[in-house]
């Protein structure tokens, strides 16, 4: 086949042309050769500095990668060291990755102690045998917590697993100056809230910050949880979340119908807006209110922070009043088989005391200490008010995705609620879709 010969400049010959490039390439290959030996070097280096710490050191898996959280956890670690507890080697992974890979993390070679959340989300891991109980140190610290907090630390088997470090309430946040300027009153009931939203709209103010754009659909749970808690009470909410109650129950339908009344007052374009931008709108006085967690305070700086205030999500059914507060609680767990069990337990015990809470609070002002006997005199006005709100509530729920199977929430409930917010007439189809998919998550 003679056409074989006809091929024009063979690439390999063109390559010879580039002989002047050889030096560049050689240099590159040289660097490459050096670096190829790298993992070996790194492996040697890491054994002294990495997570696989020597005897004595306690490894701590932390999802606090941002500067504030990092500093606060470091203060906690330092305080533990000063108290003679021992050395702690933190292994910091960003929050998003940490949550996403928690399953493989816990099955792999997890750190002795790691940060996590209270609620169903912790109990599920305990049930699967991925956690180590802390009964040996529990009697020494349980007196430091309120009864509501204490119950959060227990697994379904009644054993203690969790030591909380802080919590924060969700509520309706607003700027005092905006309310003063227009003469708005704090709404006592849900009807008042709707009326207030109507007034804001007339005043050319978007009543509610709304941003579920970049995977931020979870922010809808703030409103859903409260409407359910206020309409049907704490126990119904927890049963619904843990898969015991049907989503097609008329009581849930009532919640969505209530919700439908407020949706027209949401900031436009929420489906494409990140929730951070929705919060920024509250800072910029473009919106009047935001149903969110106290972490909204991180968007407010200086004088703006003093202008930030909140009121509890108003009453829907007087039978339940304001008896429940949603206050997500973060804390620590022990992995299944810690390398340094004694040290890890010591650390857990320390975390449950006032000095630990104070050390943490010294670095992070957007949360509240959960230890009842810790010094709260350094709280700012917002923290003080938030602490009072939590103290006055009979029940404490966590958050939609913490009181339930997080996969069920993120893959079924949140998408369904997001499309409901997009078209509030679809009450029944939304609930049916959720209920029919529930079996994938709560089969047992």
């Amino acid at each position: 086949m003679s056409h074989f010969q006809r091929r024009s400049p063979e690439p390999w010959r063109v390559g010879m042309l580039a002989a002047d490039r050889r030096t560049v390439l050689k240099g590159l290959l040289g660097v490459a050769g050096l670096a190829a030996a790298g993992p070996l070097l790194a492996a040697c280096g890491d054994s002294s500095t990495g997570a696989a710490a020597g005897p004595g050191a306690i490894s701590l898996g932390s999802s606090g990668s941002e500067p504030t959280a990092k500093a606060a956890y470091q203060a906690l670690i330092d305080a533990f060291g000063k108290s003679g507890g021992g050395t702690v080697k933190p292994n910091i992974v960003d929050n998003n990755t940490f949550q996403k890979t928690i399953n493989s993390y816990l099955q792999g070679t997890p750190d002795d102690v790691f940060t996590w959340y209270a609620g169903y989300r912790m109990q599920a891991f305990a049930k699967k045998g991925l956690l180590h109980p802390i009964d040996s140190i529990w009697p020494a610290i349980e007196g430091n917590f309120s009864p509501a907090t204490k119950s959060l630390c227990l697994g379904e088997d009644g054993k203690p697993y969790f030591v909380p470090i802080y919590n924060y309430p969700t509520a309706v946040f607003y700027r005092k100056s905006v309310f003063a300027q227009h003469g708005y009153q704090i709404p006592a009931t849900y009807d008042d809230l709707i009326a207030l939203a109507g007034r804001m709209k007339n005043d050319n103010l978007s009543p509610f910050s709304h941003g579920i754009g970049s995977g931020d659909g979870w922010t809808l749970l703030n409103t859903f949880d409260y409407l359910n808690l206020r309409t049907n009470g704490y126990q119904f909410h927890i049963d619904l979340m843990s898969g015991k109650t049907s989503w097609t129950d008329p009581k849930v339908k009532a919640v969505l119908e209530q919700w439908g009344r407020v949706i027209p007052f949401y900031q436009q374009g929420g489906a494409g807006r990140k929730w951070q931008d929705a919060q920024q709108a509250l800072v910029d006085k473009k919106t009047g209110m935001a149903v969110t967690g106290m972490f909204v305070a991180t968007s407010f700086k200086g004088a703006d922070l003093d202008d930030l205030d909140f009121f509890p999500f108003p009453v829907v059914d007087p039978a339940h009043g304001l008896d429940t507060v949603e206050a997500p609680t973060d804390g620590f767990l022990l992995s299944k088989s810690p390398k340094n069990l004694d040290g890890a337990l010591k650390l857990m015990q320390f975390i449950g005391t006032a000095p630990a809470a104070e050390a943490y609070q010294s670095g992070d002002k957007s949360n509240l200490a959960v230890v009842t006997n810790s010094d709260t005199t350094k709280y700012n006005a917002l923290q003080t008010k938030a602490a009072a709100l939590i103290a006055s509530s009979k029940n404490m729920s966590q958050f939609g995705d913490r009181d339930s199977d997080p996969g069920f929430m993120s893959d079924v409930v949140i998408p369904a609620l997001s499309s409901f917010v997009n078209d509030p007439s679809q009450v029944q189809p939304t609930l049916q879709s959720i209920e029919s998919q529930k079996s994938r998550y709560f089969s047992a």
Binding site: I102, G215, S410
Partner: protein
Amino acid sequence: MSSTKTTTSTKKAAGRPVRRRKMRRLTGRDKLVLGLLVGIPLVIHLALVWFPAIASVFLSFTDWDGIGLDTIHGAGLSQYVQAFTNDPSFWPAVTNNVLWLLFLIAIPTPFGIFLAYQLDKKIRFSRFYQTAIFLPMVISLAVVGFIWQIFYQPDYGLLNSLLGTNNPGGTYLDWLGDPSLNLSAVLVAAGWRHTAYIMILYLAGLKSFDPTLREAAAIDGANERQTFFRITFPSLRPVNVIILVVTVLEGLRAFDLVYVMGGNTGSKQGLELLSILITNNIVGESGKVGYGSALAVILLIVSLVVIIPYLVQNFRKEQR
């Protein structure tokens, strides 16, 4: 193909298969070297790609939550039934994947080829144009995701600011949120990258094209379009196969753009994709490994059905 081989084999008795004769000359050590050269990567590939793949097929018939090997229980076809009948995201995801693929085939692929063809002419600044258009492939996804977020952001994003469509109460285009807009918006970003990819691949292919063929066609009076469609394009069959495979892969496995633009999580109305559903189920906290694997098997079957017949046909032609 075998012109060179026949010349060397004339020395030996005729009729002997060329390959065997050559292999016989190899010493034991040669065979060992060859065995290692092929064996090691083959073992790595089989162990790390095919073994997990087959395991995934197996897992798709279970309801495993990914924790502890002792909790694997058979679930028959129930995961597949779930996908087909009881997942409101499944069919939209299939539709969107198909739309994604059709779009890539219809616009960015031909445009990339067109650009490559133009850049292959000996023109000035060709390198600059090449670089500018290829940049979307060089930068990391974090950058790409970020770029398109600030491009489409409804309140202050570049697009809405320029169009003046960020006016609450008035015209307000929610590019990434509105289920009727967001797929188109993301496809623009996908086209941006895909054009770059195809352009560079085709440009590489064109370098091995014999320019005398084109010149001959020009002498015969063919115009540029005729030359391209009748001479250049058909003679670049291997490149065309690659481009088709790459396009189908990008279309069916489309994942990263939606993933980064969606804040590394969740699927959103209007933007459902199979690979996103797979990731949510497998990598997420609730570990629906069985269900996610079933979705992955479905995706794999679709990819194979689309690609394998074409590949087989082309490899066969190649061998002749």
